[in-house]
């Protein structure tokens, strides 16, 4: 149970609620009993199907009833229907789950059933246009999932489902439109790490396929991130994404440039934890990977600056002081 306020009811109020619930409870138990005994008897009739609708509207987490519903569809209703009727049946089930998701956006079983419906969309409407129904359904799914992400931009069920839908489109969409989608989500809220995460996946694909120029695109990302850092230096989403963008620190020039950028921001925001934390991270990468290119004195300077920053971090963010202490020890070892 999440996010339900605790209310201290009086004995009388509890008793009254219990009384009120009795009728509902009786009806619910009778319906459950009816459905489970029909299921046991392999009853595949339309009436049983309608009963599952009734029950799932009350309790969409009852996975056994979803299973039974799919059995009826698979064994009885779909084989007896034309392709067009099957498509309509599945559309009805998708509508049912859309309505349920509005109330229960985080119930795994509802999302699963949607997926199952999609996977059963038949070929059609014609032999020439055998992907037509699928295209229509998949496009509608993207629309629904976008609505869900408007209601809660961090709902991971919706993001996972979105990736599933995009990955199984009958005609694949360009990754560029997904990149544009993450831009919109990030512009709406820089803290939306789910969108940054998605962006890291989409860009990886775009760079690998050379759909966009990796060098130019990376520079645009650095601009975007810099903008976000300056907007709210305390937001960890942006810093985590920056870490991905910089990568494993193979390029000394890039590390140095980003260190300078962050240092400038730190000068403006002298108590920014994430500036300090990131400076230590990138300076440590320099120390680990680029000692051979160092000027005299550079190594000592880097080590001293890291140790100073880590001391400040320990005071500023005492919850994680043990980690800062261990980092300090590690960096000291790097210099000897």
């Amino acid at each position: 149970m999440h996010g339900v306020k605790r209310v201290q009811y009086s004995k009388e109020a509890l008793e009254a609620k219990r009384q009120r619930d009795q009728a509902k409870l009786k009806e619910y138990l009778a319906l459950t009993h009816d459905i489970l005994s029909r299921k046991k008897n392999n009853d595949m009739c339309r009436e049983a199907f309608e009963l599952t609708t009734r029950l799932l509207r009350v309790n969409p987490e009852f996975y056994t009833v979803w299973n039974y519903r799919r059995q009826i569809l698979e064994i009885d209703m779909i084989p007896k229907s034309s392709a067009a009727d099957t498509n309509d049946l599945l559309a009805e089930d998708l509508n049912l789950t859309t309505a349920l998701l509005k109330q229960h956006p985080k119930v795994y079983w509802i999302w699963n059933h949607r997926r199952w419906c999609l996977e059963h969309v038949p070929n059609g409407p014609t032999e020439e246009d055998s992907n037509g129904w699928r295209m229509a359904n998949w496009n509608k799914e993207l629309f629904v999932v976008e609505k869900m992400l408007e209601a809660d931009a961090r709902n991971f069920h919706a993001w996972n489902y979105r990736r599933y839908v995009l990955g199984t489109m009958p005609v694949r969409r360009s990754e560029l439109s997904e990149l544009a989608y993450t831009s919109r989500k990030i512009e709406a809220n820089f803290s939306n790490f789910s969108a940054w995460h998605q962006r890291s996946k989409v860009l990886t694909a775009l760079w690998e396929s050379n759909t966009v120029d990796p060098v130019k695109s990376k520079e645009e990302e650095f601009d975007l991130v810099k903008n976000a850092m300056y907007t709210d230096p305390g937001d960890q989403s942006v810093w985590i994404y920056h870490r991905w963008l910089v990568g494993d620190g193979g390029e000394a020039a890039l590390l140095k440039r980003e260190i300078n950028t962050i240092q400038e921001l730190l000068n403006e925001q002298p108590d920014s934890k994430w500036c300090m934390e990131s400076l230590v991270h990138y300076k440590r990468l320099l120390l680990q990977k680029h000692t051979t290119s160092f000027q005299p004195g550079e190594q000592v300077n880097l080590v001293e600056s890291c140790i100073g920053l880590l001391q400040e971090l320990g005071a500023l963010d005492p919850a994680r002081r043990q980690r800062y202490k261990e980092s300090s020890e590690h960096i000291t070892r790097l210099s000897t």
Binding site: M1, F62, N67, N160, S191, F193, S200, R320
Partner: protein, 328 residues
Amino acid sequence: MSTDLELHIPLHVKYIQSLGKSKDDLMYHLTAHLRMNAIYWGLTALCIMKHKDALSREEMIEFVMSCWDDEAGAFGAHPDHDAHIHSTLSAIQILCVQDAMDRLDVDRITKFILSLQKPSGVFAGDKYGEVDSRFSYIAVNALALLGRLHELDTEKTVDYIRRCKNFDGGFGAVIGAESHAAQVFVCTAALAILDRLDVIDQDTLAWWLAERQLPSGGLNGRPEKLEDVCYSFWVLSALSILKKVSWIDADKLMQFIISAQDPDNGGIADRPGNQADVFHTQFGVAGLSLLGYPGLDDLDPVFCMPASVIEARGLKKGWQALPRQPTL
């Protein structure tokens, strides 16, 4: 003992006992699909609070056996509910803690679990095919408890988990999914059981996990989200497996969990002031155990079961919780 840090053990025991007695309550029936899990959560919390006997062993074993789905060869969450890998693991865990593993048809359950592995290496929850790295962990945990891990295609299983890994060191539910503390727990624990912690970027992951702690002391499950008691367990168990519990502020987390107790009716909620439930009660108590809260029994963070039970079966891995404090 300072009263504002006191875990109200007698109240929580009473609360857990009361859960099975509310059969005229609508909510009780609306959550029937979670009954097997709820019993496992309640039993584990009771064991950690040293009150294992507060629920009847015989009744519990009979209930578990009444959930056997003979067609599938595994357990459902409730009598007449379909078999699912999650309720099957809970059933095995309950019988293991109650020392009644001889009631299990190990061959059939092993067959059921192995039948759910997909070519990619991930596991489905049931024959309807939802896949999730949670189910990979559940399969690995269950097979280990059954002594049948040698029948698992370890390489394939590990390979899928590896592909769920993200640049932030965390793991998602499926390939491409965002890192989430609960998925980090299941993937880390599965890799621990399979002796494959080398797959993890340990420093990066421990950094990401440590950054889950918020100023309230509570932990969130993803960047820029709210804290929640159940993450005490997901994050802490993973940190214990990585031997990095010291990277967060244990005292503040303890205070946060304690403040989410219902001081009148028992139970622990997701957050202070909210309605308690058995899920958060279990994960709150489990978190406190890993933090060394005095008077509790040790919890094994890999299997999420009493440490003594796992040790007795020779399954203990090299995790490290905080030392048990003699008093507060």
